[in-house]
C-alpha cells in the first residue's frame, strides 16, 4: 500500500511499533538458523510485555490475559507477519466471496445456523483477479496453473478459478512426504496439486526490481526471515525499492496509540504515537490514514480511536469487533515403515501437495450439514528438533522417559504430518471488544477476544479429517493418528494452532453490518482505509495472505484512481 501511494506521488510515513529489520543483518546465515531464538523464544513476534489481549471462550466468562505467546503469534517489527509467515500463497474460490448467497442458492436459507452471521464480501473474484495477479508477480509466487485465459494449461488445481497469466515461477519440487501424498491421493481419484508458494523455485526479479534467490528447502520459513531471499516479505520484495523513494519515511519504534479525529468524528487528522526511543508521545498529521497494524490491532485501534460503533452482541448492533473468526486446523500424523526416512527437517513454508476435493464449492455439504470446507495437505515446512521433541511420539504415548525418547526419535525420522486447514465461520457471540480490566504498557484497555469452536466448524473438520483414513492406507502408513476438533471442546489458547485470525472490521455492502465498504474504506471515517484479514466477513479454507494482498492492491487501485481525485466515500452509505 505504501509503495502504491508513493507511486501516486503522495508523501507516505509508516509508523511501526517494532524495530527496523533488514534481512541482510537480522536474517543472515548462520545466526538466523537458530530454533531456540526463532520459533521457541519468538524473536520476530509480538512483545507481549508491552501489549497483549485477553481471551475467553464464552460471553459469561471473565477474559484473562494472553500472557505467553502460544495459540497465535502476531508479528512485530518491520515486515510484521509478512516477515515471519510461511509463504502459502493462495487465491480464493470465487464462491467463497459470496458464500452466503451461494449457500442459500444451493441449500436454502435454513441451512445457515441461526447464530451464524454469514455474509458476502461484496467483491467478486473477477474484480480481484488483476490484483491476485499483481500480488503473485510482486511475491515471485511458485505454482502450477490449471486454467489461463479460459484455456486448460498444466497440472494445476482443477478446482482453481481462471487466471489472466500463469504463476511467475514453476512449482516447488515435492519433498518425499509430499510426493507420497500426491501418489496416494491420485490413486484414490482425488485431485492433488502443488501448493502455490511465495517461496521462489528459481531466481526472480519482481516488477519493483527486487531480487529473490532460489529456495533450497532449508526449512527456516515460518518464524524466520529468509537468509536466501527466497520467501516473499515486505522486507525483501517491496522495501528495498520503497526505501529509496524520497516521498517515503519509515519510523520504527513508534507505537500508535490512536488515530486522531476532528470534532465531527467523520475525519481523521493523523495519529498519536509513543516514540519508544524516548517514551514521549508524539503526533503526526495526515490527510489519509491507512491502518495496517494486523487484524487484531486494526480492530483495537479502531475501538481505541472511536472509528465506527463497537459491536454489541446482546443488541446485535455496531460493527467494530463483529464477525471475528479464526481457522480450524488440525494436524494428523502417519508413520511409515522404518526403512523410509521422511527427513522432516527438509522443507519450505509454502511448498507441498494439497487436495481441494473437500474445499471446492461443488462438494455437496448437504448430507454432512456444514458450511465451509478444508483442503488437506502435506506441507512439510521444515520440522526442527525442539518442536519434534516437544510433540513426542504422538497422542496417548508417554511424554517423557525412555519409551518417550525412542517413540520421539522414530516419529521424527519416519513420520509425516497432514493438515486439515479449514474454514471457520462467524457467530453472533464470537467477537472482539475492549477489556474492562487489563491494560497495555500505555494504560490503554487491552483488546478482548471472545472465541470458541462451534458445531458447524467441528463437524466440517471431523468429516474432512476422517477422509484421511484411505489416504493413510494408500501411503503404506504403519500407524495413523487422526487429530480432529471435539464437540464442546473449548478453544485452547495454550496450543499453537495458527496466526490466521480474521474479521472484526469487515467489508460489506451495508454500513449496519460491516465496518468497511468494498474498497476497505471506513464507512464512518472515509479518509481511513483498513487493510488486513479483519476485512474478511468469514474464514476460508485457504491461508489468508493471498486474498489479503489482493484486497490491499484492490483498495490501493481505487484510492489512486478515484479517491485521490475526489476524497470522500467511495460508496454512498
Amino acid at each position: 500500500m505504501a509503495k502504491e501511494l508513493t507511486e501516486a506521488g503522495l508523501s507516505v510515513t509508516i509508523l511501526e511499533r517494532g524495530e527496523d529489520r533488514h534481512t541482510a543483518e537480522t536474517g543472515a546465515y548462520p545466526n538466523s538458523i537458530d530454533e531456540l531464538r526463532g520459533s521457541v523464544r519468538k524473536r520476530l513476534f509480538q512483545k507481549l510485555s508491552r501489549n497483549s489481549l485477553t481471551i475467553r471462550n464464552r460471553i459469561d466468562q471473565t477474559a484473562l490475559p494472553y500472557r505467553q505467546l502460544a495459540a497465535f503469534l502476531p508479528g512485530e517489527g518491520v515486515g510484521g507477519a509478512g516477515l515471519h509467515w510461511s509463504g502459502c500463497h493462495f487465491r480464493v474460490m470465487p464462491d467463497d466471496l459470496r458464500l452466503r448467497s451461494a449457500t442459500i442458492e444451493r441449500y436454502g436459507k435454513k441451512f445457515i445456523p441461526d447464530d451464524m452471521t454469514l455474509q458476502d464480501f461484496d467483491v467478486t473474484y473477477d474484480e480481484l483477479e488483476p490484483f491476485f495477479d499483481k500480488a503473485e508477480k510482486v511475491f515471485g509466487t511458485s505454482g502450477e496453473a490449471h486454467m489461463v485465459q479460459g484455456k486448460p494449461t498444466g497440472n494445476g488445481n482443477v478446482f482453481a478459478p481462471n487466471r489472466s497469466s500463469p504463476f511467475p515461477l514453476p512449482p516447488m519440487e515435492d519433498t518425499f512426504s509430499a510426493a507420497q501424498f500426491r501418489a496416494a491421493t491420485q490413486e484414490l481419484g482425488y485431485h492433488p496439486y502443488s501448493m502455490p508458494a511465495a517461496n521462489a523455485s528459481r531466481p526472480y526479479t519482481n516488477p519493483y526490481g527486487c531480487q529473490m534467490g532460489p529456495c533450497n528447502f532449508c526449512g527456516y520459513c515460518s518464524g524466520y526471515d529468509c537468509f536466501l531471499y527466497s520467501k516473499a516479505s515486505p522486507n525483501i520484495n517491496i522495501l528495498p525499492a520503497l526505501r529509496r523513494d524520497p516521498g517515503f519515511t519509515l519510523v520504527p519504534q513508534a507505537q500508535v496509540l490512536r488515530i486522531t479525529l476532528d470534532q465531527s468524528k467523520k475525519r481523521a487528522t493523523g495519529a498519536v504515537y509513543v516514540d519508544l526511543n524516548d517514551h514521549h508521545e508524539k503526533t503526526i498529521s495526515a490527510d489519509l490514514v491507512i491502518l495496517g497494524a494486523f487484524q487484531l490491532y486494526n480492530v483495537h485501534l479502531m475501538l481505541l480511536s472511536g472509528i465506527g460503533t463497537p459491536y454489541d452482541p446482546h443488541t446485535n448492533t455496531g460493527t467494530i469487533g463483529r464477525n471475528f473468526f479464526y481457522q480450524t486446523i488440525t494436524t494428523s500424523r502417519f508413520w511409515l515403515p522404518k526403512n523410509r526416512y521422511t527427513n522432516q527437517f527438509v522443507g519450505a513454508g509454502g511448498a507441498g501437495v494439497a487436495i481441494d476435493d473437500f474445499n471446492q464449492p461443488d462438494f455437496d455439504r448437504g448430507p454432512h450439514g456444514f458450511i465451509g470446507g478444508s483442503p488437506l495437505w502435506v506441507n512439510q515446512a521444515g520440522v526442527k528438533p525442539i518442536a519434534a521433541a516437544s510433540a513426542g511420539g504422538g497422542k496417548g504415548r508417554p511424554r517423557w522417559g525412555a519409551q518417550y525418547k525412542s517413540d520421539m526419535i522414530e516419529t521424527y525420522k519416519h513420520s509425516l504430518s497432514v493438515d486439515a486447514h479449514g474454514s471457520n465461520m462467524t457467530y453472533r457471540d464470537v467477537y472482539l471488544d475492549l477489556d474492562p480490566t487489563w491494560t497495555n504498557a500505555y494504560d490503554q484497555p487491552l483488546l478482548r477476544m471472545t472465541f470458541t469452536w462451534k458445531d458447524n466448524d467441528v463437524r466440517m473438520n471431523r468429516y474432512v479429517v476422517d477422509q484421511l483414513k484411505p489416504i493413510a492406507r494408500a501411503m503404506g502408513a504403519t500407524r495413523t493418528e487422526l487429530n480432529m476438533l471435539d464437540y464442546n471442546q473449548p478453544f485452547d489458547s495454550r496450543l499453537y494452532q495458527t496466526t490466521h485470525l480474521g474479521g472484526g472490521a469487515i467489508m460489506g455492502s451495508n454500513p449496519r453490518t460491516s465496518a468497511l465498504n468494498r474498497y476497505l474504506q471506513s464507512w464512518d471515517v472515509p479518509n481511513v482505509f483498513v487493510i488486513g484479514a479483519n476485512a474478511f466477513p468469514h474464514g476460508l479454507g485457504y491461508n489468508p495472505t493471498g486474498l489479503l494482498a489482493a484486497l490491499a492492491y484492490w483498495s490501493a487501485h481505487h484510492i489512486r484512481t478515484t479517491y485521490l481525485k475526489s476524497p470522500g466515500p467511495l460508496v454512498p452509505s
Binding site: 548462520p30 537458530d34 518425499f176
Partner: protein
C-alpha cells in the same frame, strides 16, 4: 477466583541470595543478544558453577531432566547433554526474567484453556517450585529429590505431570511442563546455548543442525539424509569433526 500476588522468592538464605545477585551482575555478558559473543567464547566443557541455581537446586534440575530424557541405548540423556547448564544460563536471559510475557496484574486463576496466569517468572517458578518440592520430598521420603532412587524420582514427576502433586500455589503440571520444555530445549538447541553437548542430541535425532541447504536432497525417496550436524558456531562444529 483466586488472586495471586507477585512476590520475590525469599527461600534461599540472605547470604546465598546476595551471592547469586553478585554472580549475576558479574556474569551479565548478554550472550543471548549476540551470538558472536558465544562464538568467541564457547561454553566450557568443564562443569562450571551454576549462576542462578543453588548447588542443591542444580542437582534437582540435573536429576529431574535426566528422568525426562534418560540416557539409554538411543543415546545420551539430559545430564550428558548439559541440560542443567543450559537451563541455568537461560535463567539469565530476558526469558528467565519473564520479560517475554505479559505480566501486568491482577493475576486471576481461570480455566486451563485460558493459559498461564501465575505472577511468576521462570526464575521464580523454579525457585519456589523446587523449594516446595524439596520440602515435600523431605516429608514423605526423608531425602531431597536428587537423593531419591530413580523410580521414586519418576513417581514424583508423574504426580506433578498429572496434577496429583501441587507446589503450593504452582499446579504440578505448570511446573512439570516448564521443566519438560526447558529440558528438551537444552537437549536439542544449538550448542552455543550450553546444552546439546557435542551436538549429540542432534546426532541422536538425525537432525543436521545449521546446514540449511537441502537443494540436492529435497526428495531422497525414503533414504536418510547423509550428513551429520553443524553448529551455528564453527568452533563447536570443529570439536565434533576432530
Amino acid at each position: 477466583m483466586t488472586h495471586h500476588h507477585a512476590t520475590i522468592p525469599s527461600r534461599p538464605s540472605l547470604a546465598r541470595r546476595q551471592f547469586i545477585k553478585g554472580a549475576t551482575a558479574l556474569a551479565s555478558a548478554p550472550f543471548w543478544r549476540n551470538t558472536a559473543t558465544a562464538r568467541t567464547a564457547p561454553p566450557t566443557r568443564s562443569p562450571d558453577l551454576p549462576r542462578f541455581f543453588t548447588s542443591d537446586e542444580f542437582r534437582f534440575i540435573e536429576r529431574a531432566s535426566e528422568c525426562i530424557l534418560p540416557h539409554d541405548e538411543n543415546g545420551p540423556g539430559a545430564q550428558e547433554l548439559g541440560v542443567a547448564h543450559f537451563i541455568d544460563q537461560q535463567m539469565q536471559t530476558p526469558y528467565g526474567h519473564g520479560e517475554l510475557w505479559y505480566r501486568k496484574p491482577p493475576f486471576v486463576s481461570g480455566p486451563p484453556e485460558l493459559g498461564y496466569q501465575l505472577p511468576y517468572t521462570p526464575r521464580q517458578l523454579y525457585r519456589n517450585g523446587i523449594y516446595s518440592l524439596t520440602q515435600q520430598c523431605l516429608r514423605h521420603y526423608h531425602a531431597p529429590f536428587h537423593q531419591l532412587p530413580q523410580d521414586t524420582q519418576q513417581l514424583v514427576l508423574s504426580h506433578l505431570e498429572t496434577g496429583a502433586l501441587a507446589l503450593e500455589d504452582i499446579p504440578g503440571p505448570t511446573f512439570f511442563e516448564q521443566l519438560r520444555s526447558n529440558t528438551l530445549e537444552g537437549a536439542f538447541s544449538d550448542p552455543i546455548y550450553g546444552g546439546n553437548r557435542d551436538m549429540k542430541g542432534w546426532i541422536m535425532m538425525g537432525f543436521p543442525g545449521a546446514r540449511a541447504d537441502f537443494m540436492d536432497w529435497i526428495n531422497q525417496n525414503g533414504a536418510p539424509y547423509p550428513f551429520g550436524p553443524v553448529s551455528i558456531s564453527p568452533s563447536l562444529s570443529m570439536t565434533v569433526r576432530e
